[in-house]
Amino acid sequence: MENFKVTLDRIEEGAAVLLVRDDETVKIDIPLFLLPAGSKEGDILDITIARDTQETEDAKERVSSLLEKLKNKNRE
């Protein structure tokens, strides 16, 4: 799990400009609607990114079985 803090530096045309603390040389533009309601300029946000292994495995399984199904269909 990755965890970092960003400064909501400004809002430009519906995009929130986030600066990754403390260095703040990395800039992330993200649609404002993806942020918690009420987020505003000057807010410091805590961002957590977790790998969802369950969701990944599920998606892999679904797609593989779909692929297999289509392959078999063509064989018939």
């Binding site: 530096d9 400004r10 430009e12 045309e13 995009a15 600066l19 603390r21 800039k27 533009d29 300029e41």
Partner: protein, 433 residues
């Protein structure tokens, strides 16, 4: 040389003090103040006659602002671009032979305006620092304040109605932030009206409609020759009433090519183009305005475009030395047409016209490195302030898009140069990509 100049400056200072003494400097509405200042403007002419130029550089710092003012060996920097532009601004100032900055102004604490400040504070002797006084939580702002504190740089918060004593011959009035701060950082931008003789500049920072309204309500004389457009010409500012009151002859937009925010906005660009000649750092590179107090000249990095008020321009050393290596001597034609962009991957080249007259491109040619391929324009007129995109491939020509109709790509993705020749075969512009 030195003593008479000193005497002139002391003389001006004395008059400024006398003029200031006649009125209450703090509470006087500005219109009255500027009338009271009239005697000093007369004495400015004696300084102007000594041959001093005020040079204002609008630096190309991608998406962000940075403006350098120079007169009589003194310099003022307004904003410093994003963090990654601090080095660019530092190098530019060093190229101008600057080691001391008499003033540094942070219009407001957004990173595209103050990101490069630490580079500036660490590379130059800064005599005074001017801030909007409206704080921000970013580390960039905090680090800037820490550096100012550590280096004991005199720090000053300015509000509307104050003046900045940069040079005796130059009036700098602060028009914003208002006495009550807005909730938005942009609207608390330090807005400066810079007047040198008959030439005036209005530097808007990122101030928008709210500030424009406050400034007009307060009765400031906003009429200016050169406008640094607020907030990269987004729809947050440059309202119709304000632009009409400013009635600029030249509008300068500091904006990054292909920025993510749709700056400049079409509607605002259209409004500015109807009112003035528009220059943009994304198309023109760094833009330099030089004035002797009666006339001014505009020089741009990419084209060496030179225009002037009253047609009074004569070539001077100061303008020729500003021109970059990309400058192409177009002698007397004062070409306003140039190669604005070249996309090697997507195979297109853009030609722009920043002048006010439309230009017929009939017979003009585009060539690549080594003149391996040539595109010749048919009857096509590039309207004022517009850009045409010439695609290598096949397609149907329109008012803004032309097609070379070739089967294969021609621009070398490892690097290539687009050359633009006029109908007489003279090289007008080139762009290396």
């Amino acid at each position: 040389m030195r003593p008479p100049q000193l005497i002139a400056i002391i003389f001006c200072l004395a008059l400024v003090l006398i003029a200031a003494g006649c009125t209450g400097p703090e509470e006087t509405p500005l219109e009255t103040t500027s009338e009271q200042m009239a005697p000093t403007i007369n004495t400015q002419n004696t300084v102007t006659l000594s041959g001093q130029n005020l040079t204002v550089h609008f630096l190309d710092v991608d998406q962000g602002d940075s403006i350098l003012l120079e007169i009589d060996g003194k310099s003022m920097l307004v904003d410093s671009g994003e963090s990654d532009q601090g080095k660019v601004v530092t190098a530019y100032l060093q190229d101008q032979g600057i080691s001391t900055l008499d003033y540094v102004v942070a219009t407001h604490p957004h990173s595209d305006h103050i990101g490069g400040m630490n580079d500036i504070l660490n590379n130059f002797q800064v005599e005074r620092f001017v801030d909007s006084g409206y704080s921000h939580t970013s580390k960039i702002y905090e680090n800037m304040l820490t550096t100012i504190d550590t280096k004991n740089i005199p720090f000053e918060v300015v509000r509307a109605g104050q003046t900045i004593d940069f040079d005796p011959a130059v009036d700098i009035e602060v028009l914003n932030p208002a006495s009550a701060y807005s909730d938005e950082l942009n609207e608390n931008s330090v807005v400066l009206k810079v007047t040198y003789g008959n030439t005036s500049f209005l530097l808007m920072g990122d101030a928008g409609l709210e500030s424009e309204e406050n400034i007009m309500e307060a009765g400031y004389d906003v009429d200016s020759d050169i406008l640094k457009v607020g907030h990269h010409a987004s729809t947050s500012g440059s309202g119709e009433a304000f632009i009409s009151a400013v009635s600029p002859e030249v509008s300068i937009i500091e904006v990054g090519a292909g920025n993510d925010y749709g700056h400049p906005h079409d509607e605002i660009l259209d409004r500015l183009q109807k009112a003035s000649t528009v220059y943009r750092t994304d198309l023109d590179g760094t833009i330099i305005v030089t004035t002797d107090g009666s006339t001014y000249t505009v020089t741009t990095e990419k084209t060496g475009t030179i225009s002037s008020r009253n047609g009074a321009y004569t070539s001077t050393d100061s303008t020729t030395e500003e021109q970059s290596e990309e400058y192409v001597d177009s002698s007397s034609t004062e070409s306003t047409v140039y190669v604005g962009d070249l996309n090697l991957q997507d195979e297109w080249v853009q030609i722009s016209n920043t002048g006010s007259p439309p230009v017929s491109l009939n017979g003009w040619k585009i060539e690549d490195e080594g003149n391996k391929h040539t595109y010749t324009f048919q009857s096509y007129t590039l309207k004022a302030g517009t850009t045409v995109t010439v695609f290598t491939g096949k397609g149907t020509n329109s008012a803004t898009e032309l097609y070379w109709q070739l089967d294969n790509p021609i621009w070398n993705n490892d690097g290539d140069t687009a050359y633009l020749y006029d109908d007489s075969g003279k090289l007008i512009s080139k762009l290396e990509s």
